[in-house]
Subunit: 199 residues, 2 copies
């Protein structure tokens, strides 16, 4: 039984084509036909892998989150805690062309969740993941070594998360180099202030 193509690679290829379509024309332009075209494949081939538009969208969202997750997990842990936390948070905010595109696609998929309910669970779990990650980072800055973060770490983690998300939104509007610098400075301050309050 032949398996000429690598199914996972093919799925990724199609998801990336879907991202490009979203970036160029918005999520409403995502259809089995436009994406197949963008990927240079026949509609039949796409539908052999993603029988419905919904499955295509869901996988596109999953892969995006997975990629971001992996990128952050692969961050070198060397340096001070403050440096590491800043490096992580920088990956949650559109500082590069890469993360900026990611954010753009994310907004589109979140908005589409009203029309495609299957996306809701995904967006919620992604948000939750980031939330607990931020709390873990806050606990790290506080030099807590307990398994469960303190109430204080939770509060600061949530705040850091809100600040990062807010800045992310702002940078989608204007992202001149001075805006980027201001944003990173704000994050640095926040991180410093969390670390400064450690017990």
């Amino acid at each position: 039984m032949p398996s000429r193509i690598n199914r996972e690679a093919r799925k990724a290829e199609l998801a990336e084509a879907a991202w490009r379509v979203i970036l160029r024309s918005g999520v409403s332009a995502v259809s089995v036909r436009t994406v197949a075209d963008e990927a240079g494949l026949a509609v039949g081939s796409l539908r052999h892998v993603f029988p419905t538009r919904t499955e295509l969208l869901v996988f596109s969202a999953e892969l995006m989150m997975e990629r971001a997750n992996e990128r952050i997990r692969n961050l070198p842990q060397q340096g001070s805690a403050e440096e590491y936390v800043l490096a992580v948070v920088k990956n949650l905010v559109p500082f590069t062309e890469q993360t900026r595109a990611e954010m753009d696609v994310n907004i589109a998929l979140v908005a589409e969740a009203t029309a495609v309910p299957e996306l809701k669970a995904l967006r919620d779990s992604a948000h939750e993941q980031i939330a607990v990650a931020c709390i873990r980072l806050a606990a790290m800055l506080r030099e807590e070594h307990s398994e469960t973060p303190s109430e204080d770490a939770i509060r600061h983690g949530r705040r850091l998360h809100a600040l990062a998300d807010g800045l992310a939104l702002h940078l989608m509007h204007r992202a001149e180099s001075e805006d980027l610098e201001r944003a990173v400075e704000l994050l640095r301050e926040e991180i410093r202030s969390i670390a400064a309050g450690r017990a």
Copy 2:
């Protein structure tokens, strides 16, 4: 020359129908037909007022921003500066069913901006308006009376803005009463800390 209908009222009526469609089925479900249907009008009537789908979407977005603007402008200025600022910021975050729906529609329209470029200018100007408002609020807390806000007020205004936007996003995911309390407490703290640093 008869003017049987109040044109502005009709436009508002249709925009509200569009909001309902967005909330129920997402922005991709907004079409001249679905919205006319939702408003209980014939397609021809809608198109007499909004010849194209784009014009309908743009006006729907404009009216939403205008309404929010007016709601905030009508806030009583009595009480301490801190109370007033909190009241204003509370209107930027989905604390009520009203503002929650507003936020939902807003996200949809922002996402649609990729497909309908006419929406981009709108979203940018709305964002800018809120940005300067936040800076003005920060200056108020600092008891600055100069026309142009200090560098300090700008910094704190931006921070307040980012925090509010981030919290707004979070409350779209989970908004139990405890989440609301936590969010308002965070804002209160931020406002207090801005006021505490005044010259």
